[in-house]
């Protein structure tokens, strides 16, 4: 099997195991959940997922951990003042770039 074909098959597999978990709940579940606990659980899921994805991974996003910490603080402060996604992301990138220049 050529390397390109091997890669191509791997990408198709990756696409499937990404699509299936996303689409399956839509396909099989349509009724309204009655349980207050499950409703509350699902309400908290997005925040818990994103938090777990971000911390502590954000501190390893660049080779220089001090720069990563500076970028994290910049993002936290701007997010606290409710700046848009783009502003928060751009300023975090810029702050790391500047720290690395020092």
């Amino acid at each position: 099997m050529s390397l390109t074909l091997r890669y191509f098959i791997a990408v198709i597999i990756m696409a499937l195991v990404t699509y299936i978990p996303r689409a399956l709940p839509f396909a099989v579940f349509s009724k309204q959940i009655k349980s207050r606990f499950i409703k509350s659980f699902l309400f908290y899921v997005p925040y818990a997922v994103l938090a777990s994805l971000t911390f502590p991974a954000i501190f390893y996003c660049t080779d220089n951990m001090i720069a990563a910490v500076v970028g994290t603080v910049v993002a936290l402060v701007l997010a606290y003042f409710e700046q848009s996604l783009v502003v928060v992301a751009a300023c975090a990138v810029l702050s790391i770039f500047l720290v690395n220049l020092l």
């Binding site: 890669y7 191509f8 791997a10 990408v11 990756m14 696409a15 195991v17 990404t18 699509y19 299936i20 978990p21 996303r22 689409a23 399956l24 709940p25 839509f26 396909a27 579940f29 309204q32 959940i33 207050r36 606990f37 499950i38 409703k39 509350s40 659980f41 699902l42 309400f43 908290y44 899921v45 997005p46 925040y47 818990a48 997922v49 994103l50 938090a51 777990s52 994805l53 971000t54 911390f55 502590p56 991974a57 954000i58 996003c61 660049t62 994290t72 993002a75 701007l78 997010a79 700046q83 996604l85 783009v86 928060v88 992301a89 300023c91 975090a92 990138v93 790391i96 770039f97 690395n100």
Partner: protein, 247 residues
Amino acid sequence: MYDFTKKSEFADGVKKGIPIGVGYLAVSFTFGIWAVESGLPIWMVIFISLSNLTSAGQFAGTGLMVAGASFFEIGLSVFVINIRYMLMSLALTQKLSKNTRLGQKLIFGYGVTDEVFAIASTREREVTAHYMYGLMSTPILGWTLGTALGAVTGSILPDRLADAMGIALYAMFIAIIIPPAKKSRAILFAVLISILVTCILKYVPVFSFVTDGFAMIIATFVGAGIMAWLAPVEDKEAAPVKEGGAA
């Protein structure tokens, strides 16, 4: 003939999706640079982003792929990282307008990224098909276009700038979490518990067998579970938790 409701729903979705799409430009740009540097042809790098439309999963999968891992290993790892989407899509089924058709839902399945989910699930009104289409469109475009730009022009970008762009994805996550966590102490606690569990699973040697994907799922169950138990949301659908609520 125009259907003005559909049109305005689509427009509202696009409006909410633009910041995500712009943020994706930066994140996928780094993916494009990195994947081409790993030895993949440009067309395949772009195809990965268009077909996968995800961050963590495709970074990990592509890394395993170029390292020569087996199909099984690639598939299982990417699947584990993506199990979180089941929780997200399940949560989103509760927000969809009643008349959403199966075919439309199967299209949503392609576009439910972390950020698209976060925006859709925190919408105050119900989520209609055309709102979802609008919301998905710019992120899909941004993710694919950014990858293409990174793949084609990456080699001329200064290394330092490319390196700094690695934080863009996480900064977007922070921008999504912090404003609601500021208003609701219960959300803040869900966030903190989830981070604590992630750190324990990552740094305590006994748990070193737990992969990153599973650590995230466990952290989510613990964080969201404890807060659902301590601070159940009001019965009104998706009602935001009152400030200082049960916590």
